[in-house]
Point group: C2
Chain length 354, copies 2
């Protein structure tokens, strides 16, 4: 996502020193993906004028926003709210998506066993929206750590509800912030999709982590070498710039203790993660000038038994959208990152939050 | 790529009728990828103002463009030009990329055999630019079919040169047009990268086509059912909207006779393909209002022996950038397409080119 043309605000100015390092190709062993690191790319010129900022033209008129408190009747049906017994003073709401990509009202279907050139499933699935705050003006990073933790607990609760549907194999939690990160709504929200299949990136990740476990006897994320890649640490989590980050300034927040499923998180860990997530978003906001961003929770298929997979370790990935992608990435599935993650980690480690 | 917010110019207005069809999940058997088709998504509102067009602020000052004729000295070194003996009247030039993602001047390296958490290759590889026309004002779709064919023959010639390097495993040919398709330069050009590894999307495609061949005894693209998906046909090629198109209005141009490597193309076929490619770009320009777009050539690893793989069939993929992507796609590798390809094919089939 994101417009093209040179490599967005913040990168070249932030990263003066390492632009003369030579290119390197690194493998992300968690996702089995190659990434090309090329600091020289950050210098290339653009003859398109500079691209849009995070929120170029946000809707100034809160009175038209269906996610705002008092506009509940303009939304698709509510699933639950926190606090659950609140009336006009809710903190967050989980609602159905009014324009869902998948539909909860049609029958799940299974694939024909024989090969066919046109394999098709019905569009059964769940697509929900998490309204993270009652007020239009508050972003996730403005909320206090416990409130951010409550957003995470809402994901947990909804995943546990979706697990009761045998046909749902995976739940993808994600957030889009800013137009070039794909957002169509400015009011702070995230989304959850319950899918009738395990998506390809998830299978690839689990296969890769399993292969690593079979070779080394260890979970790749339990063993992760933070060192130069460390950004911050809380009681139960670390945040790092991963060794083979796909995107510039990409951040992973990883639980310190092995856990294969995000929904195993408890209240205390959720508040702790809430604090670290807030800190990362604040640092990005300050250092990268309020960039558009996405975050995604990478967990395990929800029906997996035993519930603890020894090789699978969930994490939360945050991606500021600073550069666009082009035909190379669409064609190869391989990304070009102009910023070495050890440099990104240093910058983010040293941001001063007052 | 592309800004977010609703689903870009052209989609909802073009596709009135099928918006009430229910969602479907289809598998692309060539690439082993699931795609969610959800016409309802095209209707969702956006509170960001409408996004930028293809060339929002192109450089109006041609005298500053290094790709223009007369500015050859502002470019990285030339590799060859057509006609090869031309001086000031060249038709196209293949040059080195001045800000290459990979470098031809460093030693190739190979991976350590033992598992390591930080696998790294040196950034050896080739990154070239194909300047498609001497004049700033001409886009690829403005050139005559033989000139477009010459651009394709330049790709072929350069691939054949790169094949002589044992360390180069795959050559990705791609084009970015327009800022939200990633382009940083407006002058009509494409790019070629010679890679020291076979990229993940290529391995996945070849594995999937091989599996299909092993099961059915047939090449999936030789057997492709065009019917409702057909857009146009030339002597040696067909253009279709693929059954499980990842993107709205995505087009594949496929050689009618089995061929595993793009660089097997000859002069006659190149001119024929040039005509069909030009036609597809013209149709997109007219019907989708000059959208930003990418195209990619999907071929086989260049060192593969025997040279004809019975299951691998090259094709050219054209992707207009009408919608952005968000966290769902980054997280899952699975895309949501609001336009059924049979509807896109009908629209593109019926565009009248005068
Ligand atoms: N009144 C209402 N009640 C309930 N729900 C309402 C509503 N009004 C709007 N909505 C829903 O709210 C959601 C807001 O989501 P985002 O802003 O994160 O991005 P969106 O899903 O539009 O698309 C981005 O994310 C998806 C998934 O990554 C990408 O496919 C896409 O290209 C990108 O633009 C939309 O899905 C919309 O359907
Ligand atoms: N004087 C000169 N001589 C020679 N070469 C020159 C030059 N001036 C500029 N160049 C090169 O010309 C190329 C123009 O390429 P494009 O406009 O297609 O997109 P770019 O490669 O910048 O990035 C897009 O494509 C890549 C690959 O898909 C994505 O990684 C990226 O995010 C996206 O913006 C650039 O690569 C640039 O380095």
């Amino acid at each position: 996502a994101g417009g093209g043309g040179g490599d967005g605000a913040g990168i070249s100015t932030t990263m003066g020193s390492s632009e003369n390092r030579s290119a390197e190709i690194r493998k992300d062993t968690v996702n089995n993906r190659w990434v090309i690191f090329s600091p020289a790319r950050a210098r290339r010129p653009s003859d398109f004028k500079s691209k849009s900022k995070s929120n170029p033209n946000p809707n100034p008129n809160q009175s038209e926003c269906p996610f705002c408190i008092g506009h509940e009747h303009e939304c698709a049906p509510e699933i639950f709210r926190f606090p659950s017994d609140s009336t006009s003073n809710w903190k967050l709401r989980v609602i159905q998506n009014l324009y869902p990509a998948l539909s909860r009202d049609i029958q799940p279907s299974s694939l024909p066993q024989n090969p066919t050139p046109t394999p098709t499933l019905s569009g059964f699935g769940f697509h929900d929206v998490v309204i993270e705050s009652p007020l239009h003006s508050l972003h996730l990073s403005d909320l206090n750590p416990v409130h951010v933790g409550d957003v995470l607990l809402a994901y947990k609760k909804r995943i546990e509800q979706l697990r009761s549907h045998d046909s749902i194999k995976y739940v993808q939690v994600f957030k889009n912030h800013g137009a070039s990160a794909g957002a169509s709504m400015t009011h702070s929200h995230s989304q959850m999709m319950g899918l009738p299949f395990v998506p390809p990136a998830v299978s690839a990740r689990l296969d890769s982590m399993k292969e690593n476990f079979d070779q080394t006897g260890k979970c790749s994320l339990c063993e992760i070498q933070s060192n130069n890649f460390l950004i911050d640490q809380s009681t139960h989590f670390i945040s790092i710039a991963p060794f083979a980050a796909t995107f510039p300034f990409e951040i992973w927040i990883i639980p310190l203790c092995h856990s294969s499923h995000f929904h195993e998180i408890d209240g205390e860990k959720a508040a702790d993660l809430g604090g670290l997530l807030k800190l990362m978003l604040r640092k990005m906001y300050l250092q990268l000038n309020n960039p558009p961003f996405n975050f995604m929770i990478h967990t395990s298929p929800i029906q997996s038994t035993p519930s603890q997979l020894p090789y699978a370790h969930w994490y939360l990935q945050i991606v500021p959208q600073l550069t666009g992608v082009g035909g190379f990435e669409i064609g190869t599935g391989c990304y070009i990152n102009p910023v070495f993650p050890e440099d990104a980690a240093k910058v983010l480690r040293e941001v001063c939050i007052t």
